[in-house]
Amino acid sequence: MLTVDIEKTYGNFHLRAAFQAEEEALALLGASGCGKSLTLKCIAGIERPDRGRIELDGRVLFDSAAGVNLPPQRRRVGYLFQQYALFPHMTAEQNIAAGMGREGSRDQRRRTAELMARLRLEDCAGKRPRQLSGGQQQRVALARILAADPEVILLDEPLSALDSHLKWQLELELHRLLASFGKTALWVSHDLGEVFRSCRRVCVLDRGVSSSVMEMETLLEAPGTVSAARLSSCRNIAEVRPAGEGRIQVPAWGVTLGCTAPWRSEATHVGVRSRHIRLGTAEEENAVPCRMVQVLRDVDTDLLLLQPEGAREDAPPLHVEVPRGAAPSAERVTAVLPPERLLPLAE
């Protein structure tokens, strides 16, 4: 189990990360510049937090109060850098063996061979990193991490800046690895889609502040904050004012909407996912008459951009997802925002 509770100030950026990861793959989700990588670097010991405590399976890695700050080489933390950081002057085999430190050479050779077989790298043993494909490079980096027998693996945006085919292959690779690892792994990403399939739980970082750890499903069904809703690709978010009797007023869209439950007072915004809005008639509850602005063809749906009749000039259009070919040709349509689909969001 990894327990992190740290603070660090970097210029005018303030990081305040507190979360706990079990023996699981935990996603650390946040927009770029929110302090995800800094959090990982603090755990690895590359950066020193100003205050706080980091504990891994009962071992204290960092404790500002007790004056404990283990150097990286004693933390047993595996770190997968974005560009893998393979040693360019060593072969794939030497890179992997570098993770093992000073063991008996025969044992070392046996374990290197095992890892290379496990990650299907037998053909790459004598090659330098620059001679390897992106996928092979990542596998060598993973084998090197496993060779060091870490207690936790940190993945720093492992799939960003890759083309989609390679990305999918590497994601499958990582998925397999994490499933068999059996210890804690932290996967940092700005893309929910990337981590959704491999991590069951997620911690959202927003401008340096971490949320509580939640189930992936919770992030989709009740994200709770504006930033979490944005990260889970909720496209329709607007500020609200309570209008009494379980109703809310949305000035940007110029409407008042009914909710299923009393509106939580700390929720300053409302979110509605584009696939939860449907087209209906003016008689239905939460019907919003709109003007069609644009129809975009998505990969397997159509995306309608609608301007509510009473909307403010500067309000972003409502995004509505309909099945491919179901986009109406009418100039005016009625969007229905089902009360049970309204997400209360705190700023």
């Binding site: 590359i46 893998y84 002057h89």
Partner: protein, 266 residues
Amino acid sequence: MMRRGGWFPLVCGLMTLAALALVGSNVAVIAVRGLKSLPACLVQPEVRFALGLSVKSACISTALCFLLAAPTAYTLTRTALPGRRAAEMVLELTMSLPYIVLGLSMLILFSSPAGKWLKEAGFPVVFHQNGVILAQLVVNLPFAVRLCAAAFRGVDRKLECTAGLLGASPAQQFFTVLLPLSKNALISAVILVWSRALGEFGATLMLVGVTRMKTETLPGSIYLAVSTNNLDAALASAFLLLVLSALSLTAASLLGRSSEKRSRYV
């Protein structure tokens, strides 16, 4: 070949010819006249002694220089040393100082009671061959630190971090990652520093003077030969220096080329 309105390239071309003539004529004089008087001079024990002392002291001072410069450059580029800026400024300043000034300050330092104590302890510096090595060392040290620091800065810190996370101690990170990855740049630096040591004269003259068969290096030999009006001997020594410079230049450019070929890692 001249294009329309191309007077500027033409003028620059003529300037280039003038510059080459100015520099090249010097090389030519030493190459032609030095080569002629070389056989006669090489049999003289003084010239052979100067050649030996020059090569020997340059080798020793270069080795000592990098023994100090590499850890210094490591400290300057890889640790959060307080007062790093001040240290860098001291090094920069000595680099731009005339070497004769450095020689003068060393003469004063080693003539002090501390210097005399060193002499009694069996390490004489002033008017001694040790001084030749020391002068070359002090003159080249700031230069070597700068070259080493540039070499170390060219290596991605992330790789050392990675080695650290894999369990390598700072010493292991230095010897297995930083040093191999800056190897080519360091080899060129060694060659450059060695050839500078070979040509060192100003500081050496101040600290040890030039005494025949005792503290006579090749540059010192030229100085002595000219002051005794023996131009042939001066040219022979100059020719030897020219050959040594050419050799080290060739070695440096060969190694430099191989480092350019080295592709950027992933």
